[in-house]
């Protein structure tokens, strides 16, 4: 598994970039003694890595596995024999045999002082902080036995809390300047919202021009929230409004749950990463007072049909109608962070973006129209809540154009963390809940919907349907268990080519769109998958330059590293290993489904038969399930 984020980081000074010598001829090993333990490591390994290999704990704070080395917090200092000063273990590449001591008096005193200095700047109202009990600073203070504030402690808040963004709230009083958010935003995501302003004791993390977060170019991905060691960054929490709606008997409160939160929510209840709690969560949600619990995967299946139809129509335009400039490759539009990224940085490519809404928004408009009609409920009294692994979904549901049902399609977006909070507030022990199924009329969806949560999942789901609908063969004939392995994994950008040898008859669902598929015979469908906006940037620049990506027909983008399962609303902390465990849970759930292809979902057939009668891409689906985008640009006045 390759995590191509750290290596390409251009920002860290060369001296701080951890450089390993990978050439076998140059591979030199050095012997290191750490606290009387001996280990042989390749040249360039940091003291921290070496210590972890032999099981010695060195505390860290600014260090994060996803990010480049910064070496700014100094909490990981150790004594290296023969060195006058203490060295930061995370930023010291071993080049010669050394002897390291990790807990001498000098080291302990230094760490304690560093902590005391941080606390002298940290306005910590631990009881009223959402990171209470999950705060790295709090944990360190406990670990090092901080029992008084040696250098004082702020008594009053000094900064105004920035609540301007729909998604992310910044409270600079809790910031300890570890710069993880800066490295996340600039290196990992290539968005560049946050940076350090000024020097030394005047330094502060600011946005461009110190403007409110809502006014700068932020894509709301929330990756900074997941990596902040304290509570300086958090998501905009609507739980109070959701509770109020639940408590209001005149309101019919409906929740839809996305696939990724199920794979992650267990972590909030002390379980290992990668334990899915899908059906336990259904019971818990009912117990909390939600009237209906639906599966976003139904809408994911709907998205596949709509987006897939759109792709086929674009291909038809290019191949049959000989359109000189078809908007190809088509980009997925499920990730609201990615959509906003494109609107800001590549507005000229908006025509390439699929006009299909994200599953969350599709479900919102379906609930307030189709579901309301079916059950004879006034849509005005329906409150739609979406459980998402995502902070950008909060922005998305507040987009002014997302009111196609005549009402606000989705009223509130909840993150996994916020729901875990609600469940524990209701006194429910989630892992111990009995299992129950999703509510009708949307029922349990397909495996294709579930894998939307992992990078490559949307592509895999789309391919499964396209292969069957166009080629008229079973996916299982081409890929074992219908697992399309080439699009899976965590590599930053992945490609796949699918030659279409023969085509089948046009299925009933798509009848009326085209007469036959013969025009696709002999063509090769080229697709690509990118996750994390830094990789998205690479793909977009490649398309601009006319490289390999520009030859693709369909590209899946997800704003967060790892896809939705690594989203900005998922439980904290995050790391490559945690994301991998969540992905395993998602793929295991997919494998357990009986129906694993979107077009085979009976609820989909039903909705196209009863409600969206003019079929995929028809007028009504365009009204309810499609949207348009805003070119935003990147200049701020």
């Amino acid at each position: 598994m390759s995590h191509s984020f750290k290596q390409d980081c251009s920002r860290a000074p060369t001296s701080l970039r951890v450089q390993k010598i990978n050439s076998p001829t140059l591979q030199v090993a050095v012997t290191v003694h750490i606290d009387d333990r001996e280990i042989e490591v390749p040249v360039g390994t940091t003291i921290l890595e070496a210590a972890r290999q032999v099981g010695i704990h060195i505390p860290t704070l600014c260090f994060h596995e996803d990010l480049c080395v910064a070496g700014v917090c100094r909490i990981c200092v150790v004594e290296v024999e023969g060195h006058r000063n203490l060295e930061a273990a995370c930023a010291y590449p071993i080049t010669a045999p050394i002897t390291v001591r990790t807990h001498t008096r000098k080291v302990r005193m230094a760490r304690r002082h560093i902590l005391d200095l941080m606390l002298s700047e940290h306005y910590g109202e631990c009881y009223a902080c959402f990171r209470n009990n999950n705060c790295e600073l709090q944990a360190l203070a406990q670990e090092y036995g901080v029992d008084f504030f040696r250098f004082g402690h702020p008594e009053k808040p000094r900064y105004e809390i920035d609540r301007s963004s729909h998604s992310v709230i910044r409270d600079m009083d809790k910031c300890i300047l570890c710069r993880r958010c800066v490295r996340t935003c600039i290196d990992l995501q290539e968005v560049g919202v946050l940076e350090v302003d000024k020097r030394s004791n005047q330094s502060k993390i600011i946005t461009f021009g110190d403007k409110p977060l809502g006014d700068v170019i932020c894509i709301n991905c929330g990756q900074c929230i997941n990596r902040c060691p304290t509570g300086a960054l958090r998501a905009n929490d609507p739980t109070d409004e959701v509770w109020a709606a639940i408590d209001d008997p005149s309101k019919h409160v409906v929740i839809q749950t996305a696939p990724s939160p199920r794979a992650g929510i267990g972590e909030c209840f002390g379980l290992e990463p990668g334990v899915p709690l899908t059906f336990e969560m259904n019971t818990a949600l009912k117990e909390c007072g939600f009237d209906k619990v639906f599966d976003t995967n139904f809408a994911a299946d709907l998205t596949i049909i709509e987006e897939g139809t759109e792709l086929l129509l674009r291909l038809h335009k290019a191949l049959v109608e000989q359109d000189a400039a078809p908007a190809l490759p088509q980009f997925t539009s499920c990730s609201p962070g990615w959509v906003k990224y494109l609107e800001h940085f590549y507005p000229e490519y908006i025509p390439n973006l699929s006009s299909a809404k994200s599953p969350q928004q599709m479900f919102g408009s379906v609930i307030k129209t189709y579901y309301a009609q079916l059950n004879d409920i006034d849509p005005q009294d329906i409150v739609t809540v979406a459980l998402m692994p995502c902070s950008a979904k909060k922005f998305e549901c507040n987009r002014p154009e997302m009111c196609d049902s005549g009402f606000k399609d989705i009223d509130y977006g909840l993150t996994t963390r916020e729901l875990a909070q609600m469940i524990s507030e209701a006194g429910i022990d989630l892992p111990a809940m009995p299992k129950s199924d999703f509510d009708d009329p949307f029922g349990t969806a397909t495996g294709s919907g579930v894998i939307f949560g992992a990078t490559g999942g949307v592509m895999e789901a789309a391919l499964r349907s396209v292969i069957e609908l166009v080629c008229g063969i079973k996916v299982e004939d081409l890929f074992e268990h219908a697992d399309i392995i080439p699009v899976r994994g965590f590599e930053g950008i992945r490609f796949m080519e699918l030659p279409i040898k023969k085509t089948g008859p046009v299925p009933e669902l798509l009848a009326g769109l085209v007469d036959d598929w013969t025009w696709l015979e002999g063509a090769t469908l080229k697709v690509a998958v990118a996750h994390g906006t830094a990789n998205a940037k690479k793909v977009m620049d490649d398309i601009k330059a006319g490289g390999r990506c520009s030859e693709c027909h369909f590209i899946e983008f997800m704003a967060c590293p790892g896809g939705c399962l690594g989203g900005g609303g998922q439980p904290i902390p995050t790391s490559p290993a945690i994301r991998e465990a969540r992905a395993k849970a998602i793929y295991a759930e997919d494998a357990a489904y009986e129906i694993r292809k979107s077009h085979e979902n009976p609820a989909i057939t039903k909705i196209y038969g009863e409600f969206l009668t003019d079929g995929p891409g028809g007028l009504l689906s365009h009204k309810l399930l499609h949207t348009q985008y805003t070119p935003r640009g990147k200049y701020i006045v």
Binding site: R11, I186, G192, E195, D197, F208, G209, K634, Y635, V637
Partner: protein, 172 residues
């Protein structure tokens, strides 16, 4: 700002990027050029520079705020920076400072109403053996006394008007 001025500004930046190379290491030389010519680096400039160098505006803003000789706010045509470190302090920098404040009618950190002079403190100009030292834009004056302050300011004033050489040419 006039649209035509903006276009001109953009053209200038593009020319400087051409000169120093279009990668992130060109950032500081380009910002220095902007600072020299326009005496400040506006938010618009930061965004243009970031756009051309393919970095983020907030990174440019971080660099501008890090270095004292780069600034966001317009400053006077002549920026007078008086050294405040210990050698200059011991050789009478306070009297020089008072003379500067009296002559210009402003305090340190301020700019005269006509936009000609800005007074600032500097930390060690490397002239500890010849203190008190001060810097006028990029020219150093040593062994400054309250009497010579007057001459220095007069010298600055004489470079105004039609005979004033372009700042960029004089101090490049």
């Amino acid at each position: 700002m006039l649209v035509s001025e903006r276009e001109q500004l953009r053209g200038n930046i593009e020319a400087w990027v051409e000169q120093y190379g279009s990668n992130r290491s060109a950032l500081i030389p380009v910002l220095e050029e902007v600072q020299r010519k326009y005496s400040h680096i506006s938010e618009y400039v930061m965004q243009v520079v970031a756009d051309i160098l393919d970095i983020h505006p907030v990174e440019v803003s971080g660099v501008v705020s890090f270095y004292s000789f780069l600034g966001r706010k317009p400053k006077g045509r002549f920026i007078i920076r008086l050294c405040r470190t210990i050698s200059c302090e011991m050789q009478g920098k306070d009297r020089v400072a008072r003379q500067l404040e009296n002559d210009l009618g402003i305090l340190f950190g301020e700019t005269t109403a006509d936009g000609n002079f800005t007074l600032e403190w500097a930390n060690c100009l490397g002239m500890c053996d010849q203190g008190p030292a001060l810097l006028v834009n990029e020219r150093i004056y040593t062994q400054v006394t309250p009497e010579t302050v007057h001459d220095i300011l007069e010298e600055c004033r004489r470079t105004f008007g039609v005979y004033a050489p372009q700042l960029t040419e004089e101090y490049a």
